[in-house]
């Protein structure tokens, strides 16, 4: 057991995997001498050499496309997209190729590849260093999309992702990198992909969240208990696709109230599927309409501080909505 923040956990977990299995390979922009712009692979080049730590050209489509080829020829590539905002040139390689390799070959070929991408806002990253992308890729059958938000889950799910026979988009909320710390077992272990997790028990309402919003929800939940005496159950989605609806339903059956929080643009966002599924499945268990809290439908998070704050659902906003729902 060691206390670590999220980025340190990613670094150490990748390091262990590289050490243990020569099939694992790192590729991406600035992952070599620079050790990654977030330092996720600091020291890797020196330790593992440039054959296994590839500084790629500035070309995301081929970062993913070449990783697909490597995965089909016996390696276990872990590709880093420097910012999730820059994964879009690789959309075709992910949607048309990676996600369909197994299906279109009727199981003959597989694509065991991990694509890591730091996403999310609140870091003064403006329009192109703040984006949430889970809704785009969660909609693609054949891709697994995970969003672990604690150091423990990050280690367990990163190992599970590298060990997965299918392509996994591994999303890391960059604001949690240094903000979120926690105890991490030193031994390797897997946290299964496709299982949500109750991060806080409660009876009065269910709050479903992930990424930075999960931590803000937990904060708001504690305050709600102290100040208003309502106990909120907080469910960490952890995996966007395949989505673990059962764990969410179970909680809502108990509390009778559901709230979904996500920082991405609200409309057609991932929270829509969660809200819709709850209402379709549990309409008669619900004591109140499902509440959805999402980012505004503007292209992205602006740079200037007052504008950025306007975008991000902060703990205060979340707290107020939770209180409303609890009192409903």
């Amino acid at each position: 057991m060691t206390e670590k923040n999220v980025i340190q956990t990613i670094h150490d977990t990748l390091w262990d995997a590289m050490k243990a299995d020569e099939r694992v390979l790192i590729m991406g922009e600035d992952v070599g001498a620079r050790g990654g712009v977030f330092r996720a692979t600091a020291g890797f080049l020196e330790e593992f050499g440039e054959q296994r730590v590839i500084d790629t050209p500035l070309a995301e489509s081929s970062i993913v496309g070449c990783a697909i080829g490597m995965a089909m020829h016996g390696l276990l590539p872990v590709a880093e997209i420097q910012f999730a905002d820059f994964i879009h040139p690789a959309f075709d390689q992910l949607v048309s190729e990676a996600a369909r390799i197994r299906y279109r070959s009727a199981g003959d070929w597989g694509c065991p590849m991990v694509v890591r991408a730091p996403y999310g806002g609140g870091v003064h990253g403006a329009l192109y260093h703040s984006q949430s992308i889970e809704a785009f890729y969660g909609h693609v059958p054949g891709l697994k999309v995970v969003v672990p938000s604690t150091p423990y889950d990050v280690k367990g799910m990163l190992l599970a992702s590298i060990n997965d026979p299918d392509p996994v988009l591994f999303l890391e909320h960059k604001k949690t990198y240094r903000l979120i710390k926690g105890d991490v077992p030193d031994e390797p272990f897997e946290v299964p992909i496709g299982k949500a997790d109750v991060k806080r028990e409660g009876d009065d309402l269910t709050v479903v969240a992930y990424g930075l919003m999960l931590h803000q929800a937990l904060e708001a939940a504690n305050r709600l208990e102290e100040e208003e005496g309502f106990s909120a159950e907080v469910v960490d989605v952890r995996t966007i696709a395949p989505l673990d609806k059962e764990t969410i339903f179970e909680s809502v059956r108990k509390t009778g109230k559901a709230m979904v929080i996500y920082e991405d643009n609200r409309t057609f966002g991932a929270g829509a599927e969660i809200s819709a599924s709850v209402a379709e499945e549990l309409m008669f268990d619900l004591d109140a309409p499902v509440v959805r809290v999402g980012g505004p439908d503007i292209p992205a998070m602006p740079y200037s501080t007052p504008l950025e704050h306007f975008f991000l659902p902060d703990t205060e906003k979340i707290y107020e909505r939770m209180k409303e729902l609890a009192k409903f």
């Binding site: 020829h73 276990l76 048309s96 197994r102 070959s105 390797p188």
Partner: protein, 352 residues
């Protein structure tokens, strides 16, 4: 004159290290592709094959360029036009028509993909899709993995002239140059991307010149000259195997039929142009060479054609009668079986 040709010619395939039997095998493979093509268009007209992709005209550059590869060891990334490549790699006429009819046992996709979307892990044929040029980075990735693991593998990647306009083409070729990968890039330049002529695709005469911009050699060959294609390909494959890095081989050829059974090529090219091109039919040219070499005569060619046609027709019949996929199986193979893993060593007990 005739004799001089003969001598020259004689010297030719022997100089290339090809035996007389090799030549007959190559010719037979070209005929098989041609006759499969004729059969699938017949089936299309009969309404038995809703969609087919022709190969006719490309047999020379395909069989010639694929021949130097080592089957069961090297890796092939063909595109939809490449029936000939896949026949060389080991696919059979049966396989072709199981795909044409979208049957359960279609080796490429079990009837999931359109015909001509080739795949066979056993044969080293990497699964391909419809989106043009997406296989280019895959090919570079396979070659990188082969080199990194120290496999004795050469990767061959085929595509049309149209593919050279895609960003993925640029990115993949650049990656292969940077890492000096064991790969050969083949452009089957048939002058059109469906209807779009070369003049609207590029401002250069030979797309092969782009290789220089990626730090490796580009060569141009007559794609209707099967031996010329073999020669260029052999040199490139040997170079790749020897660690010499990539080569871009541009093979000038022509597509005899419409783009697919859905296309009407009369809207964008004249019959004269097509007829003119057919005078350079690679099968006729190669047949002439075989005759000059005394390896076969017209009668022999007719006999062979009849024999191959008989086989193709039999395979069509067999494929037609093969079972369709079960509807519910559409749900299979989205992901690997639950619980299946890659055996990541770390998780197998090894500790860092």
């Amino acid at each position: 004159m005739a004799t001089r040709t003969k001598q020259q010619a004689a010297s030719r395939h022997q100089a290339l290290g090809l035996s007389d039997q090799d030549l007959l095998d190559m010719y037979r493979t070209m005929l098989t592709a041609r006759l499969c093509d004729e059969a699938q268009f017949r089936l299309n007209r009969q309404g038995k094959a809703p969609f087919v992709v022709p190969v006719s005209g490309h047999e020379g550059c395909q069989i010639g360029s694929a021949w130097p590869f080592e089957k069961g060891k090297d890796v092939f990334l063909p595109y939809y036009r490449d029936m000939g490549i896949c026949l060389v790699a080991g696919m059979t006429a049966r396989d072709v028509f199981l795909g044409v009819f979208g049957k359960r046992d279609d080796p490429s996709s079990g009837g999931r993909q359109m015909p001509a979307h080739w795949s066979s892990r056993r044969l080293g044929i990497v699964t391909g899709s419809s989106p043009i040029a997406t296989q280019i980075p895959h090919a570079a990735g396979v070659a990188y993995a082969a080199k990194q693991k120290g496999d004795d593998v050469v990767v061959g990647c085929w595509f049309g002239d149209g593919a050279t306009s895609e960003g993925d083409w640029h990115e993949g070729l650049n990656f292969s140059g940077i890492h000096k990968l064991p790969i050969v890039w083949y452009c089957e330049n048939n002058k059109y991307a469906i209807s779009v002529p070369l003049s609207k695709q590029m401002a250069v005469k030979d797309v092969a010149v782009r290789a220089e911009g990626y730090g490796f050699e580009g060569v141009v060959v007559d794609g209707n000259d099967v031996l010329g294609c073999y020669e260029a390909s052999k040199r490139a494959v040997d170079k790749a195997r020897g660690g010499g890095g990539p080569t871009l081989v541009e093979m000038k050829t022509y597509r005899f039929h419409p783009h697919t059974s859905d296309d009407d090529d009369r809207t964008y090219r004249t019959r004269e142009e097509v007829d003119e091109a057919k005078r350079n039919d690679p099968i006729i040219l190669f047949g002439n060479y075989l005759k000059e070499q005394g390896l076969i005569d017209d009668e022999g060619i007719e006999r062979l054609r009849g024999e191959v046609k008989g086989q193709v027709d039999a395979e069509v019949e067999a494929a037609w009668n093969a079972p369709d996929p079960e509807p519910e199986t559409a749900l299979d193979h989205v992901f690997a079986r639950p619980g299946q893993g890659m055996g990541l060593k770390l998780l197998d007990g090894d500790r860092p």
